[in-house]
Amino acid sequence: MYNVLVCDDEKDIVSALRIYLTAEGYQVYEAHNGKEALAILSQEEIHLVLMDIMMPVMDGITAMVKLREQSNVPVIMLTAKSEDTDKVFGLNIGADDYVTKPFNLVELQARVKSQLRRYMQLGSRVMPEVSEILTIGGIAIDDRTKEATLDGEKVALTPTEYDILKFLMENPGKVYSPAQIYAAVWNDSPFGTENTVAVHIRHLREKLEYNPAEPRYLKSVWGRGYKLETGKGKGDV
């Protein structure tokens, strides 16, 4: 049972989030401005904060800065500001994730889950000694069983999809063109066949991402190829 603090000046949004997160089994605390949020944070043990930016009395940015002085609880920013610079700014002052309004509740729930898992579990988790297990963010593959897991849940992948994922996970952050991926995975020179790579990537994304339109891990670098993001969140621009 995790304690989640929802902070937004719009009461309807807060109650919608409360309904949803309570249904998921979280204990929800409500606040309507930064000051209230800080007050609750100082009294209760909170595991995750969902915080709006534009709020009366004290805005989300100020609250964020104050909060980071005491705690490193994961914070997901909820905001109508969708500019790139806004996102960068929010992440730079200490937010862990950034969700723009209007958001999809399912996606938000996934992000909440992911942040909580990393905050609550990853720190104490003992890395497997076996080198066959590769982990990037919430994704892990076991080369012995050829199985992949997302946030601990098994994901069914085809062998090709698995190979592509493995290739990308072995070289996280690097951009590969479809032709390079094809050459590496199929061990063959690509001749008008890169299109299949793109199709596989999309399938992979659908399986691994909560919101394939805004992937967190398997990203398209448009006009150049694909890469596997390390999932630290801050590069999510």
Binding site: G173, A198, V221
Partner: protein, 839 residues
């Protein structure tokens, strides 16, 4: 100084100063005249008596003449006049002074002396004047002096030479004596020098004769050979110089040798008779042909018609000037110089002149220099005060103009000058009139008035000048300046208002006129000098123009390239260039202002849209969330579920629309950061296939892709390009005819790269590509058709932002979009994987 300042505005003070000035000037002038007269007449070391005596002597001489006049004219005016005066005279009958008895009334033709006075006459006291009367009746002094102080010889001259002009009506040749005469007034005047040209063989010989009055014949003065006869314009026809001159020797003998007397009559019957002489020269002035001479014979004429003495000559007008002696009538007037005559300005010369002498001596006494100095001092002081006070008036600040001071200076000056000249002439005339004793007093008074008027005028003129100078810009108030100003304004107006073309024609015209004027009127050296100077000036002018034109050209080029902040320094420019430069500056200012405003309004618009969309997003979030929550409830109602789906779909659409709106406004205002990278065009095609494979399949579309074998690079922001492709592909999925094929072709030339999307529209497209793109901007009929969203508009803006272009071609149902990029030719530095720069 303080006091002076105080009274400088006072009219009374000025009036006093003026009067003082005039008095001092007049006194200065009088003293000056006295001084000058004293210097010129050497009066300084003479006593009053001596001066008075010499003055009286002069008066006696004048009266003597008047007495003769009186004698000739008869009684009346003069006699009456003479009787009034102290003048005692007698006109002598004889000039034999030895025998004259001055006491006897019979010795005089006329006298006004009484018998007692005659008896008291002492001959040594008599003042004698000799007066001559010429034939015209004019009187002249000849000599004067006291009896006994001269000899008779002095008075010997009683005849005079008179010159008479006669017109020589013809020129005659006396065939008897061989002498040429002028005929005038029935007398024959021998021509005193004659030049005759005679041809011997090839040369001309000129014989020059002089008439000798004693021998009454011509003497050959000289003979000399000449090339050309100076007094003849055309040489004598060869034929007239007779060829049948049989014995030249004898002819030459007749013509004579130097110093010998000749008789030209000897030539009469020879081949060189007077008719054959050709042109001869008389008295070095008059030329005449030999055959034009009038032939006379002196033997048949009386001798007294022939003048036999010199004393005449021919003048330039061919008139004979004859000197004639005339006898003159002479009179002797004896008069008594009075010792003393009472001083009185009215009666007679003695008293008037005595008064003047008195005045002179009064003026030039021992106090002369003090008086003179005082006058000059007062003059300078009053003048200085007047100059200082000119234009000031009590109770008014600054300089006050009177009516005088407003008259244009040139008109004023000329008027004053003319009036002064007229007055001066009047003064001179008056001085002459003052000779007559009757008018003396009036004339002196009149001259005084003239002098005062002249002085006042001069003073007022100078004071007016002072006022004008004090006001400053005195030249402005003049006709000349007004005319000049008017001309200048006209010229400026013309230059300002006529076009450059006419101006050029005008200047060229003036230049050409000056050039032609100089060419016609001046010598070669002047023309060279002028040409050099003109070219020098022209060079300077053209060079200046060229430099300025270059500056203007550079500036306009800068502006054409979009550098609107470029400014021209018009401070050093002249004429039209300056105007042009200023205009250019104004254009660039206006343009940059317009651009700035445009940018500002675009930015504001974008900000407005962004902010509004933020506010819309918050309620939209609730809507979407609650729709989602509602859909998770068990409703047990099919209709409710159906409605919820509509809500879900439409709220999603709204969300997309808002995002598109923000995107579109940012893209179209360029308010978007572009991170350009080297990208592979082929990868886009591949990624398109990958991303849309399923969607296309769902829409029942078949995708056909083609791309070149070589790797084609472009320079752009990958996310922007993807956004464009994404929009296009979504449109295709939505609006392409199900079951048709979709083509994506990548083509590359050496310069550009194009990606073409082609599909068959499921709806008829009745609007053009441009309208499709601008439908949200223009908001007209095209909105009624089923829209492609803002997608195309955003796509267009993004392409432009990335330095590319997007074209839409609608050909029936064929819908074609072409994305055009500049090709980037450099290869990737590393063929392997490269870390994403956006990390």
């Amino acid at each position: 100084m303080f006091k002076v300042k105080k009274i400088r505005g006072s009219l009374l003070a000025k009036l006093i100063a003026r009067i003082l000035f005039i008095i001092s000037v007049i006194s200065c002038v009088l003293l000056g005249i006295c001084f000058l007269i004293g210097m010129s007449e050497n009066l300084t070391d003479k006593s009053r008596h001596e001066v008075l005596k010499s003055v009286y002597e002069n008066i006696n001489a004048r009266y003597s003449m008047e007495a003769i006049n009186h004698l000739n004219v008869g009684n009346g005016y003069y006699a009456e006049y003479l009787e009034e005066s102290y003048f005692k005279y007698g006109i002598l009958k004889s000039d034999n002074f030895e025998k004259i008895d001055f006491h006897d009334r019979n010795s005089y033709q006329e006298t006004n002396m009484t018998d007692d006075e005659l008896a008291a006459v002492e001959p040594e006291q008599l003042y004698l004047c000799k007066i001559l009367e010429d034939s015209e009746g004019f009187l002249h002094y000849m000599e004067r002096g006291y009896y006994g102080s001269y000899t008779d010889d002095v008075f010997d001259e009683d005849s005079a030479v008179q010159l008479t002009h006669y017109y020589a009506d013809k020129i005659c040749y006396d065939v008897a004596k061989g002498i040429i005469y002028y005929h005038a007034e029935d007398s024959y005047y021998p021509v005193q020098s004659v030049s005759i040209a005679y041809k011997t063989q090839d040369t001309w010989m000129v014989y020059y004769y002089i008439y000798d009055f004693t021998k009454k014949a011509y003497r050959l003065e000289r003979k000399n050979p000449v090339e050309k006869i100076p007094w003849m314009e055309e040489p004598i026809a060869e034929s007239s110089v007779s060829e049948e001159i049989e014995d030249t020797k004898s002819l030459e003998k007749i013509l004579g040798e130097s110093g010998s007397f000749v008789n030209l009559a000897d030539l009469n019957n020879t081949a060189f008779s007077c008719n054959d002489w050709g042109t001869i020269l008389l008295d070095d002035i008059r030329s005449i042909r030999g055959d034009e001479l009038t032939i006379i014979d002196s033997n048949s004429l009386p001798d007294n018609l022939f003048i036999d003495k010199p004393g005449y000559y021919l003048n330039e007008n061919f008139t004979l000037v004859v000197e004639e002696e005339i006898s003159l009538k002479s009179y002797w007037v004896a008069s008594i110089v009075p010792d003393f005559v009472p001083i009185d300005m009215i009666n007679g010369r003695y008293s008037q002149q005595g008064w003047i002498v008195q005045f002179y001596f009064d003026m030039t006494d021992e106090n002369f220099y003090q008086r003179f100095g005082l006058s000059i001092f007062v003059m300078i002081l009053s003048f200085g005060f007047l100059v200082y006070a000119a234009g000031h008036r009590r109770g008014e600040e600054g300089i006050v103009c009177t009516l005088f001071d407003r008259i244009p200076i040139d008109v004023f000056s000329i008027a004053i000058f003319i009036i002064e000249i007229i007055l001066a002439f009047m003064g001179i005339y008056t001085v002459k009139e003052a000779e007559l004793p009757r008018y003396m007093l009036v004339c002196i008074e009149f001259m005084g008035v003239i002098g005062i008027i002249m002085t006042v005028l001069a003073l007022e003129y100078i004071l007016s000048l002072c006022v004008r100078l004090k006001i400053g810009k005195w030249w402005r108030n003049s006709i000349c300046y007004r005319v000049y100003n008017w001309c200048r304004n006209c010229f400026a107006y013309l230059l300002k208002n006529i076009s450059l073309l006419w101006k050029t024609i005008f200047i060229l015209g003036i230049l050409s006129f000056i050039e032609s004027f100089i060419l016609i009127n001046f010598s070669r050296d002047t023309i060279y000098g002028f040409w050099f100077v003109e070219k020098l000036i022209l060079c300077v002018v053209l060079f200046t123009l060229a430099v300025q034109l270059y500056t203007l050209q550079k500036a306009s080029q800068n502006m054409a390239e979009g550098n609107l902040s470029y400014k021209i320094d018009t401070g050093k420019m002249v004429w039209e260039c300056r105007k042009h430069g200023e205009n250019l500056n104004r254009i660039s200012e206006g343009m940059s202002r317009a651009v700035d405003e445009r940018m500002k309004s675009e930015r504001l618009k974008t900000e407005l849209i962004t902010n509004v969309s933020h506010d819309i997003k918050t309620p939209l979030t609730s809507i979407i969330n609650y729709v989602d929550l509602l859909s998770k409830e068990e409703l047990h109602n099919d209709k409710a579920t159906e409605y919820l789906e509509v809500l879900d779909r439409q709220s999603s659409k709204l969300k997309k629309l808002i995002e598109d709106l923000v995107e579109a406004s940012k893209a179209s205002s360029g308010n978007m950061t572009v991170v350009s990278q080297q990208l592979e065009a082929g990868v886009f095609v591949t990624q398109t296939v990958g991303e849309f494979e399923e969607k296309l399949k769902a829409a029942g579309l078949e995708l056909i892709v083609s791309k070149p074998e070589e790797t084609v690079y472009i320079m752009a922001d990958g996310r922007h390009v993807w956004r464009v492709i994404d929009n296009l592909m979504n449109n295709i999925c939505k609006y392409a005819q199900s079951g048709s094929r979709v083509y994506i072709n990548l083509e590359a030339t050496s310069i550009c790269v194009s990606i073409t999307f082609r599909n068959i529209s499921s709806f008829p497209l009745n609007i053009s590509g441009e309208e499709l793109m601008e439908r949200f901007v223009r908001g007209d009929k095209s909105r009624s058709t089923e829209g492609h969203g803002l997608g195309l508009s955003i796509a267009q803006s993004l392409m432009k932002l990335n330095g590319g272009d997007m074209k839409i071609v609608v050909d029936g149902d064929l819908f074609k979009v072409i994305l055009i990029f500049n090709r980037y030719l450099q290869d990737l530095p590393d063929e392997g994987a490269v870390a994403d720069a956006s990390d």
